[in-house]
């Protein structure tokens, strides 16, 4: 709006901008996307987005979910002149229908259905350690025949080898310092040395193991086993043997 006031009228400076009387809620109450002014006809896209927006607001309880009047066939904007022909029913129709719905469900369960990675939550939760979050992001659940595919599509899983080993080393010393809270320094350092030796040995063992098992992409189980004091299955790979010293019986060893 122009800031000039018509000549002869003493409206003062402040009334330059048009202030439409808001019906009672302040604009600030609403999230910024909500359109209160409808200056022109809305496009389909805007309508659709407003629909989604409304859904979000309903869920967030900003507005109450008004019951939508059930629109039946022919009751909308354009009345239907001719009603649609009934759909085929009967054994064949029923079977194909059931089959279609079953296929839809089945395909969601197959490994070909790729779910986007669950976004990392801001705070690391304790339960995260125990949750099997499916294949590690880089791996595929199924084994394609790599001979038939371009080589560039093969996801290298070797990375994990190095990752795992680096995880081990820092893990071990802190663990033992926990165990050995206030005890004799010598014992501590001795243990540390033992740790390093055994963890080095373990490193080598695992490198060999992993070279053999490079094709396998299930590191979940073993990785979790390392990181927890509770063994997930009864699999005992001997790593804990050198780790926890027998002097400290804080936890039972299985």
């Amino acid at each position: 709006m122009s800031a000039e006031s018509p000549p002869g009228q003493d409206w003062g400076r402040g009334h330059g901008a048009a202030e439409v009387a808001e019906p009672g809620f302040k604009r600030a109450d609403f999230p910024p996307q909500l359109l209160l002014h409808w200056p022109r006809k809305l496009t389909n896209r805007e309508l659709r987005e407003a629909g989604l927006e409304r859904h979000r607001l309903e869920e967030a309880q900003y507005i109450s979910s008004w019951p939508r009047r059930g629109l039946r066939v022919g009751e909308g904007q354009q009345p239907l002149e001719f009603r649609p022909v009934p759909l085929p029913s009967g054994e064949e129709g029923e079977y194909v229908l059931a089959l279609k719905q079953e296929l839809r469900g089945a395909m969601r369960q197959l490994p070909y259905f790729i779910r986007p990675a669950v976004p990392k939550r801001d705070v690391e939760r304790y339960s995260d350690k125990y949750q099997m979050s499916g294949p590690i992001d880089n791996a595929i659940d199924w084994n394609p025949d790599w001979r038939r595919l371009p080589r560039e599509l093969k996801i290298r899983v070797r990375k994990l080898q190095k990752e795992r080993i680096t995880i081990l080393l820092p893990k071990r010393p802190p663990k033992t310092t926990e165990d050995k809270e206030e005890t004799i320094q010598k014992l501590e350092t001795l243990e540390k040395k033992e740790e390093e030796v055994t963890s080095e040995e373990d490193e080598e063992k695992e490198e060999e193991e992993e070279k053999e098992e490079e094709e396998e992409e299930e590191y979940d189980e073993e990785e979790h086993e390392e990181e927890t004091d509770y063994i997930m299955s009864y699999f005992d790979n001997g790593e804990d043997f050198g780790g926890d010293s027998d002097d400290n019986m804080d936890e039972a060893i299985y």
Partner: protein, 538 residues
């Protein structure tokens, strides 16, 4: 040429791309959908460009491409300098709508065993024969009574029959190199297949029986399994048909659907016997005629007589009479191409498909605009070009109504207007305006509408499901609780209590939802049948 790598713009319409997007998302998830739609839109692209343009991580793109290639939706090609480009087959993506129909057809022809074979092949894209046989045997065993198992041999037999009738075919495979190639291995294998080998079943002696998945077995196997990595046992056994993959042959199914449509059209128009004769002729030409041929190979009346199904006891003269009737019919499904051998007859496939497409158009006009409009439509079809006045006269419909209907059909592109100027200046008062129906373009328009319809149906179904998500989850939870309680043995009263967790209005809501979703699904299937007819016509 390869250096420049011309990227032709995609020839797919927005409606088709939208439908592909919905199908991919529903069956493979958002990541595969993003990559697939991008490839459909932009044509052929290499890996890094895809990752860059879609803003997805390289690993996700790789995973998605693996899935798409496995399901024959994307193919790759090696260009110069070792660049591999990926291309999507949009029409193949749309075939996913038809999966239930393929599976059901196999069921009618080869019973449950065949049905499951084709189902496994469609769900997994491609599989080796041994893998299919094992999976299907296991699945069939699950459904059998306790103590009974399905033998591998029976499944193999059905598989061989499917291969013999070309319903399943071999995928192109990695060529066995003679190892005289000294250079580094190529970035991607070039897959080849010999025409002769396409339906050749490898000589396997698959011996075994289907295994039932027993819960007790799982517990026992659970612990030792953890000690051993999973795949070692599979790797140790040599797979006899390693590298030989099979896929469902969709073209063969389409040929079957086309034959079905023609036979039922003849049955509707004439009688059962004529349709049986036509069916026999089509069956005789199954392997010899390619699916895009305009007509089948000529068949002599004697041959047809010999090939009639065993139950049909019509005499040679009666058969000849029927054939003459069929050949004389204005629809021209059957044509006579010669007189040797008692009369040589062909089936005019193109004409038959054109008639079917036209019938579809007529039916749509009738259901959408009314029977009077349909009468005008059929009239203009028959007479090819008509002026407005002539339409009123021939159809015996008052001028105002006729004009209204003509304009309505014109605006919806079922009809088109042909201008014929009388004078060089194209003055409207001195120009003939003729109404005409261009079947090809009307069919294309209707096909486009069908794609939009299915996209709408799918979106509506997803919306309905999403609206009631909370209720659906609750009902699933309750069902799971009831099932587990029944398994551990619970009293009626307890089960009753749990069932009451879902209130009566909620039950009503669930019923309505189920009814709606069923209706939407059934509509999708129906529209896909129309799409098939219209697509075959091109």
């Amino acid at each position: 040429m390869d250096e420049i790598a011309l990227r032709l713009p995609s020839t797919m319409t927005q409606a088709e791309i939208k439908l592909c997007s919905l199908l991919l998302q529903e069956h493979f998830g958002e990541i595969v959908e993003k990559i697939g739609v991008h490839l459909i839109r932009t044509g052929s692209q290499p890996l890094r460009v895809i990752a860059h343009d879609t803003g997805t991580s390289l690993d996700q793109v790789k995973k998605a491409l693996c899935v798409l290639i496995q399901h024959n939706l994307v193919s790759y090609q090696v260009h110069k300098r070792g660049v591999v480009e990926y291309e999507a087959q949009c029409s193949r993506v749309l075939r996913m709508l038809r999966y239930p129909r393929y599976i059901y057809t196999t069921k009618t022809l080869y019973s449950d065993t065949g049905e499951l074979i084709v189902e496994e092949l469609l769900l997994n894209g491609k599989l080796t024969m041994s893998a299919v046989v094992k999976k299907v045997a296991d699945r069939l065993t699950e459904t059998m009574e306790d103590g009974k198992t399905m033998d591998y041999a029976e499944v193999s037999n059905t598989f061989v029959r499917l291969a013999d009738t070309h319903f399943v075919q071999r995928c192109p495979s990695v060529p066995t190199t003679e190892n005289s190639d000294p250079g580094p291995p190529p970035p991607a294998p070039t897959l080849v297949i010999n025409e002769k080998d396409m339906y050749l079943v490898p000589k396997l002696s698959l011996i075994g029986k289907g295994k039932r998945r027993r819960s007790s077995d799982e517990d026992a196997a659970g612990e030792p399994k953890a000690k051993r990595p999973k795949h070692t046992t599979d790797n140790k056994e040599p797979i006899p048909d390693d590298g030989i993959y099979w896929q469902a042959n969709l073209d063969r199914f389409h040929q079957h659907f086309r034959d079905q449509a023609i036979v039922s059209a003849v049955a509707n128009r004439m009688d059962q016997t004529s349709s049986e004769i036509v069916r026999t002729m089509l069956r005789m030409s199954e392997i010899t005629t390619s699916s895009s041929a305009p007509f089948t190979q000529p068949l002599s009346s004697n041959e047809i007589f010999r090939s009639l199904p065993v139950g049909y006891n019509i005499s040679k003269q009666v058969l000849d009479q029927y054939l003459t009737l069929l050949a004389d019919d204005p629809l021209e499904f059957v044509g006579k191409s010669g007189d040797s051998g008692g009369g040589m007859y062909v089936i005019n496939l193109h004409k038959a498909l054109a008639s079917l497409a036209t019938a579809t158009l007529e039916s749509v006009v009738q259901e959408r605009f009314g029977s009077r409009c349909a009468r005008i439509f059929r009239l203009v079809l028959q007479k090819k070009h008509l002026e407005q006045k002539q339409v009123e006269d021939f159809a015996m419909i008052p001028a105002k109504e006729a004009k209204d209907m003509l304009y309505k059909m014109l605006s919806e592109n079922f009809m088109s207007l042909q201008e014929i100027p009388k004078t060089p200046d194209h003055a409207p008062s001195r120009t003939f305006y003729l109404y005409t129906v261009n079947i090809l373009s009307a069919a294309r328009m209707l096909l486009h509408r069908c794609y939009k319809s299915i996209a709408n149906l799918i979106e509506r179904r997803q919306f309905e499901t999403k609206e009631n998500k909370r209720l659906l989850e609750k009902s699933q939870r309750v069902e799971a609780i009831i099932a587990s309680m029944q398994a551990t043995g619970a009293e009626e009263a307890q089960l009753q209590e749990i069932e009451e967790m879902i209130t009566a209005p909620e039950r009503q809501q669930l019923e309505t939802l189920k009814r709606n979703v069923n209706k939407l699904d059934a509509s999708e299937i129906q529209v896909d049948e129309t799409i098939f007819l219209l697509e075959s016509y091109h």
